[in-house]
Structure formats: structure tokens, C-alpha cells
Amino acid sequence: MNDKRNKKLIIRLFNVSKRFGGKLALKDITLDVEQGELIFISGPSGAGKSTLLKILYLAQKASEGQILIDGMNLARISSSKLPFLRRRFGMIFQDFKLIPNRTVYENVALVLEAAGKKPSFIRKKVMQVLRSTGMEKKINALPPTLSGGEQQRIAVARAVVGDPSIIFADEPTGSLDSKSAQAILDFLMEYHKKGATVLIVSHNLHLLERTVRGRNIEISEGTIKRIAPVLQGKERK
């Protein structure tokens, strides 16, 4: 761990709790994530994994505690700066959140259009990620006409099309067979290797290629039960 000490802390949580009505979904979470780190979040259903990610990508507000992302306090971020912060995130939602009446292409392109990119750049980039996720033949399809696994791959394509510096992936392989799941995980790992910080909720850790290493955060009933290093195969010192 010593060699990491001088690395930048990109995400910091201090005693974060999330309450839904009277029920606590997250209790007193304190956690630091280094830039470029790979974090696995595991735990039983209803443990609060999605809630944790939602608070981080600002879909929900923490009820208590402080969160810093790249030094910015999420509770104090102005609404005009918020879109710019979000453009640095890539999100794969557990329920995909694809726009049903927009084509696959339009769904993925939306991220870059929102960021004000040039049409020629958008075209190139969108086709590139759709090819990488094996969906280039479906660019004109509407999401509801696709299988769960296909929708998931589009969600992945959309998450990475803007070259995010932080990727939040909520069960990105949940609807995929193990071969496709492996391909998607490997695809996400490419972004990790290029320097992106990746937080991933997944049960398919065993599919990861052997050189990947990260931390596994086990959540249960809204609290961190255990943080353990994930060392796949031989360590590259």
C-alpha cells in the first residue's frame, strides 16, 4: 500500500448515510478511492450498493455526511457546474435507462451532444464504441426491440463514449451470459488501464482477466462489512 500513498484521492466519503423515510439504506460510510483505482462493490440484494453509486453520481443526495469528488464537495456544487462534473462520469445503470423512443445510435450520441461535441466527432466516437461492444449492426434499432443483454451493451457503450475519468457500473454484466460478460468486463478494464477510476457492482469477479487488481468492498445492510484486496493472479510489482 505504501507505493500508493502519494496518489490523488479522487472520491472521499465521510460518514455518509442515506435515509429513505425512516429506513437507513446507507449507514455511516467512510471511504477513500484513489485516482485510477478499481473498486468492486459486492453484497446481498438490498444492501445499498446501487444507492451508494447513485449518491456518488449525484442522482440522489446523501442524508448525512460529506462527499468530495476531485476535491469538490457534492453538497455545495452549484447547479451550473453540475453538468460539467457529470460529463466526467460514465454511468451504467442497473435498469439501463435507455430512452425507448430513440435509436441505439441516438441514445449513445446523446452524451456527446449534451457535451457540445462536433457532429463528425460524435459520429466517429459513437460508431467506435458500438463496434467495441458488438452493437454496430443495431444502430437504428429502438431499445425495447432489443434483448436484455443487447440493451446492457448499449448502456455500457453510452457510459464510455465520453471517455469518462470515473466509471460507475451497476451490474454491467447482470443480463449477459458469461462469455459476453467477460467481454464487457474486459472492455471496461481497458478504460481502467487507460487511467479511469472504476467502481463496479458485480458478482462476476471470477471472470476478470488475471492481471487486474483492485479492492473489493463488501456492503451489507448499508454498512461496509469488509474491504479486501482483489488480486487476480500474479501481481505486477
Partner: protein
Amino acid sequence: MAHFVKKALADIRSNRFLNLITMITISLSILVVSVFLLFFENASRAIESWNQGGRAMIYLNKEFSLEMLPELKVKINALGDIDKIVYISKAQALDKLKKNMSSQSAFLKTLKENPLPDALEIRMKSYHSFEEVQKVAQSIKAIEIVEDVEYGQGWLGRFLQIFNLFKITGYAMCILFFLIALFITANTVRLAFYSRKLEIEIMRLVGASETFIKAPFYVEGLLQGFLGGFIGLAILLIAYLAISSGMTQSLASYLYFDIRFLSVKTIGLIIAGSTFLGWFGCYLSLKQILK
């Protein structure tokens, strides 16, 4: 920009029925408003021609001399909203009379002295309210050097009173229809917004600014307003052409003026107004939704 127009068109296509209703409402409102405007424009022109544009003649008595003119002008100007004052000396008046009556100029030549008074012709800025014209005329008459003031006849005054009443009703109707159209437009935008709630949520999450999210709605509102105005005017034009082709001749000769379609300026104003309506409906709606 092209992106927003494309989005707006796609949305109009996917909400065809709703957009059609809105457009029809706007068109009908514009139609009502422009019927009134058509009537007023023509009536105003008629009044202007009957009233000679608020002209009045001020006849001055014998004591008048030219040195008094500047002071008199100042006095008259202070009395009302006067556009123009032209001095017509009795010599000028006589010359004019001679020209007009060249055959009888022999009779005029027999005159030793010019019997005509010096006069001022004035033009009032606002002459649609007869009371005002009357009031101004009376106070001018009160100036000691003024012999008499001649202005619009009594029947014109009564006509103007009725016309003004009609005008107020017209304005009220216009406002009412404007509000109805505004309400419908705002409601359409609201429905469109809610039907795209998921899309908007996703857009926000992937880092779209509020401007980016709102722009297609504004484009949609502007487009609806513009097309609504255009269609409303087109209906009016068709109706006007159909009616006027048969009627104008006889009616015009009866009324001593021709009925014309709306002026380019008014058409421009109507289109701008209905486009604004589309925009404003959208603005109100989004303001309310996005608190």
C-alpha cells in the same frame, strides 16, 4: 441549433395529436384577433378619410397680425396633442379660392377687400376620441383672437363613440383569446415535458445543461406559435379574398373607401405576436415545472 430543431420536429411528430390541437387553438385565436384587426384597420382608415385625419381649421379674427403667430402657435400646442400647425394667410386662401373657381374669378375680382379670414390648419395626433377633439377645439376657441374652430361633424362623433366601444370589446376579446392560446400552449409543453420525463432525467444524468434540455421545447413552442399565426392569417386571407371579390365594389362605392387586407406591418406584428405566444407559453410552463 440544427440539433434542437431536429429534436423539436421529432417530438412534434411523436406527439402529433397534441401538437395539432395546440396549433389549431393558436390559429383560431390568431384568426379572431386578426379579424378584429382587419376591421379596425379599415374602420380607422375610413374614419381618417371622413375626418381628414383629425384636421381642424382655426379661423382668426381681424385683430390678428403676423407677429402674433409664434405666440399663438405655442398657445395652441399647449392645449392638446397637436401634430402640425400650418398657417394659411387670407391672401393664400383667396388665391386658392380663385384657382378653384376660375370660371367665376370675375366675381372675385370685383372684391375690393379680401373677405376671408386668416386661418390655421391643425392636425391632431389622437383624433379617435371625439371628446378629445371636441375639448381641444373648444379650448382653442376660447383664445380671444380665434373667431371660430371647425372640426368633424356631430355624426362622426357619435360614430367614433360606438367605434371606440367596439374597439374596447375587441381588445378584451383579443386578450381573452390570447390567454386561451397561452394556456393551451403552456399545457402542451407541460404534457410534452412529462411524456419525456425519463429522457430528461437521463439527459441530466449524462451531463446535459438545463439549456440543452429546454431548448427543444422552446423551438417547439416558437414553431407552433409561428405556424399557428401563419395558418390563422392564411384562413383570414382566403376568407377575405372570397368575400371581397364579390362585395368590395358595391360596398366600397357606398362607403367611399375600399376595404383592404391587413397591412404588412400588422401581418408582421401578428406573426411576431403568435411566435411570442408560443415562446411565452413554453417559458411559463417550464418555469413552473422546473420550479
